[in-house]
Symmetry: C2
Amino acid sequence: MMGGDYAPAEAVKGIKSLEAEGHQGLHLLLLGNEVEVSPLVKEAEINESLYTIVHCPEVIGYHDHPVKALKEKLHSSIAVGFGLLARQKADAFISAGNTGAMLVGSMFSLKQIEGLLRPTIATLIPRENNKAGLLLDVGINSDCKPEQLNQFAAIGAAYAGIILGVNDPKVGLLNIGEEEGKGNILAQNTFPLLKENPNIHFIGNVEGRDILEDKADVIVCDGFTGNVLLKLLESVYPITKRQGIEHPYFDRFHFEQYGGTPVLGVEKPVIIGHGVSGSEAFKNMILLAEKMIVTDFIGQLKARL
Amino acid sequence: MMGGDYAPAEAVKGIKSLEAEGHQGLHLLLLGNEVEVSPLVKEAEINESLYTIVHCPEVIGYHDHPVKALKEKLHSSIAVGFGLLARQKADAFISAGNTGAMLVGSMFSLKQIEGLLRPTIATLIPRENNKAGLLLDVGINSDCKPEQLNQFAAIGAAYAGIILGVNDPKVGLLNIGEEEGKGNILAQNTFPLLKENPNIHFIGNVEGRDILEDKADVIVCDGFTGNVLLKLLESVYPITKRQGIEHPYFDRFHFEQYGGTPVLGVEKPVIIGHGVSGSEAFKNMILLAEKMIVTDFIGQLKARL
């Protein structure tokens, strides 16, 4: 409840709008400072059966060092959240707080899926066909091995299929040429692995010009390239606003609307929100967490890896 | 004259508009099929003192294999052009033809600047402040060493200063975090070299969100990341056209208008044009080549490396 620039008010609004839409079957553990959170949820008249406030008096700020903060601030909502997940007291964890702490918590408090080399994070990409594409890794694996990219491809295909509802998602390898054999050493060595991976529908190399197009539903790359691309694409919406450009196409570059970024490859759903998350983003993150639970996304992912 | 989708007509138009603007002091060697080129330049009434047609009966097509074509089609305009450069019969070479053949010719027909590890290619980036930034490498060095990126930084700073007229150009390292020590192994190891390079004004790491901003005048990255970014940015203008968005900011993403891409680090100016180059692009490429000659860009670059 304490994560994000507009915490905890926007989180409460998100929960309220979920309730107002008649959404049922969830129980929310609201981790935060009870003194701040309690009056807000009461004021919003959220049904008490929907939530339990878990008092977390400490806060990990945006400038706190992730590893240090997680060790020292044991009563922060992020530390408590990962503790609940690890002890099976929660099924998923959402926060718009310190991204580094969320990543460190995911990697060190939770088990990785067996056989996985490294967890990954993905982003949705607005495409011209009005459907969202998936790009991964977007930043936690800045140097990758071909075997990692091959696993990211399987993770991305599972996510696109199960969570985004894409039938037989097309997987492309981000590269700087169309033909097999093109690219840097990583891409050259990843291509044959993807070609032989029975769990994905590999369509070959895709280039920078294909990212916003309909060519691939899932695009795999190293986390350095992916993070540069993500941050470039995130900069487009603010630019259009400053330039006075209003257009539905560019509205879809408003990345905050997508809710959050799931950490993929750990034993429980973890969703990291943008610092500027508003009520809509919080609502979408809760719905995404629920979908990952009810579809048993992680169980299905294990079966595919 | 035979390179590009609208060859040779648009090249002739570009030369004509240069002449019409009263531009003087150039002599153009027009490499192409005399039967096609001659009537066009005559029809355009271009002053005969401005040009010499060099008959090149063969053409390297877009689908020709660069190395093979350059070896076999000795009478193509690309092969003849590099021959003239190498024998000091021309001071610069421009073509909108087969990019691969232009790159292979640059690397194997011309000497590299002494001490340079690898030549590079750069692209202009449209920025919000209406000035163009420079991004390099954008595709001929897909796997890089820190020492190469350090040289690209010096090359980019020289180009921004001498050719683009930027005073004390700010050089940034493309990375996925702001602080020193962030990033992939390449970026981590490049940072200290840039910090100690006396020939550049290094401002530190820049991220994806800074590419379209005014943070750095020159952004250095490996050719894999750079090529993905270039092709993504090139895809923006066609998307805005399809979406019916008309705006001066996005008009600046019309990369063809920039003329061409110089190959930097070889002993003579070589400029590679887009396949879709129109007369404006041809004119701009000629002006760029002239500027590189009259400023002794290559001499100055040698002094800095």
